[in-house]
């Protein structure tokens, strides 16, 4: 864990470099096109301090996470089931390609017609966008389980609980976890996009408002807020858990 915190310096430095480039761009193009980072962060600070940003962030978070949770639950379950059967796995492949190939914006249009302007539209869009990613991860995890290890487990008469917890799950988790992280990233992006077009509240809706006011500072501030939360979730929560679960993978590599 301390090693992980230390490795954060590299990530921090690279983020700061990005902000420096942003500043350079701001100096070159001017305030109207690209507000500089300090103004943006000040705007964001005001939004947060006045309390105006929190409810919107919460709404977006709720939608993104409900869609994500649904996708994770359904995708992991169905994916593992499909992985157990050769036929189901072969049948599911083209569906996954189909679902992955369908742009989220197309789903959004359908969802707007089906669910209207409430929570349903963004939640559904997030769900469909994340589902194939999670599904394929679970499918591959189950399909690639080493037959040799299964035989070993039988030869040593491991009880079913040990087979599940010590043999199957650690292997499947190695495929599922990266899929979940990818899904988390797209859940936020898709949720904001859905809100921008379909709802009257949430970060996406705020972005739509600031765009119509040509308020570059506010737009960038909202974008920073979304990206910031995503970074915190991924590097603060998911990445450490993943490292802990997959220490064996890096060993000897």
């Amino acid at each position: 864990m301390p090693a992980y915190l230390w490795s954060g310096w590299g990530a921090g430095a690279s983020l700061l470099l990005f902000i420096a480039l942003w500043e350079l761009g701001a100096a070159y193009y001017g305030e109207l096109i690209l507000p500089d980072p300090r103004t943006t962060f000040a705007t964001l600070g005001q939004l947060l301090q006045s309390g105006a940003a929190w409810p919107q962030l919460w709404i977006t978070a709720r939608r993104a996470l409900s869609g994500l949770l649904l996708a994770v639950a359904v995708g992991s379950g169905l994916g593992m089931l499909a992985g157990l059967s050769m036929t189901a796995a072969m049948m599911a492949r083209p569906w996954v390609t189909l679902l992955l190939g369908m742009p989220p914006i197309a789903w959004l249009v359908l969802a707007m017609l089906w669910f209207g302007a409430g929570d349903g539209t963004p939640v559904f869009t997030v769900f469909v966008a994340c589902l194939p990613v999670v599904f394929i991860g679970a499918l591959q995890g189950t399909r690639t389980l080493d037959l040799h290890l299964k035989d070993m487990a039988r030869a040593y008469q491991l009880p079913w609980r040990m087979r599940l917890l010590d043999v199957y799950l650690p292997h499947v988790a190695a495929y599922l976890f990266p899929a979940w992280i990818t899904a988390l990233g797209s859940s936020w992006k898709v949720a904001v996009m859905a809100e921008l077009l379909a709802t009257s509240d949430g970060v996406g809706a705020e972005l739509a408002v600031s765009r119509s006011h040509l308020d570059m500072g506010a737009s960038l501030a909202w974008i920073c807020a979304v990206v910031g939360i995503l970074l915190i979730l991924e590097y603060g929560v998911l990445e450490p858990v993943k490292r802990e679960l997959e220490r064996w993978r890096e060993a000897g590599a």
């Binding site: 070993m152 039988r154 491991l158 040990m162 010590d166 292997h171 190695a174 064996w248």
Partner: protein, 270 residues
């Protein structure tokens, strides 16, 4: 057969087929407690299938296997360690399966690991951090820590260099002498068979069957390197062995053989 026969693994009139392909035909053998039986034969002669049948990993189709030994341990061709478990937990796996508490099983696993020459430091490492030879030791420790009454081995040392193989052979023989387990070993290495076994059964392919039964002289632990080489040469010179491995020529029988050749039962048992 007398009433006081020791416990033994018995295979009688075994026949096994995958679809139309007959893998094993009329196979009979017995592995009594305390003895090592080596099955040698070319690749694809059904050795592994036979071992899997004995281990209960495959259903017997025809014939009979009586396996009175418990616990049984299996050592596979590859170490087959769980990559997400550290060495100590891998060794203790079968003990955990039998419900032994953590402290006890770790103590036993550690003891066995050290006896097999695994360094203390490696016990907290993951299998991928170990060399192939160390991984084989871990697999052997996982099998032996159970104190099995029967140990089934499928070419467990074939990927190791001669030095390591020799070390593990000695460790195995010492453990066997101490515990009196029965061992059924599959190998395609005649030298390994002669070094370890009390009985060497030679298998020929298409369909897999036992064609010769050779008994190297003396107890395995007392055989010198020189004797092992000469016995392996004697084995390889035999007509039936040459036939089984499709070696050219018919070979020549030694005038005064080192080991003893036994009749091969025809499946109905000796």
């Amino acid at each position: 057969m007398t009433g006081s026969t020791p416990a033994q693994l018995r295979v009688r009139a075994l026949r096994h087929a995958y679809g139309p392909t007959v893998i094993l035909e009329n196979v009979a053998l017995r592995v009594p407690a305390g003895r090592t039986v080596a099955l040698v034969g070319p690749s694809g002669c059904g050795k592994t299938t036979l071992l899997h049948l004995c281990a209960g990993l495959l259903e017997v189709q025809e014939g009979r296997i009586t396996q009175p030994f418990a616990p049984t341990a299996v050592m596979f061709q590859q170490p087959r360690l769980l990559p997400w478990m550290v060495v100590l937990d891998n060794i203790a796996l079968a003990l955990k399966a039998r419900g032994m508490d953590k402290r006890q099983r770790h103590a036993q696993a550690r003891q066995m690991a050290l006896a097999l020459g695994l360094p203390e430091l490696s016990l907290a490492q993951y299998p991928a951090e170990l060399s192939g030879g160390m991984q084989s030791r871990v697999a052997l420790a996982r099998a032996l820590v159970l104190v099995p009454k029967l140990l089934l081995m499928d070419e467990p040392f074939s990927a190791l260099d001669v030095g390591l193989r020799y070390q593990l052979h000695q460790l195995l023989l010492e453990q066997q002498a101490a515990s009196g387990m029965a061992v059924l070993l599959i190998t395609h290495d005649l030298m390994e068979a002669v070094r370890l076994a009390d009985d060497v059964l030679v298998m020929a392919p298409n369909p897999g069957r036992i064609v010769a039964h050779y008994q190297p002289p003396g107890a395995a632990l007392t055989r010198s390197d020189d004797l092992v080489y000469r016995c392996a040469a004697e084995l390889q010179q035999h007509r039936l062995v040459r036939g089984a491995f499709e070696l050219p020529g018919t070979g020549q029988a030694a005038d005064c053989p080192l080991g003893r050749w036994q009749d091969v039962g025809n499946g109905s048992d000796q």
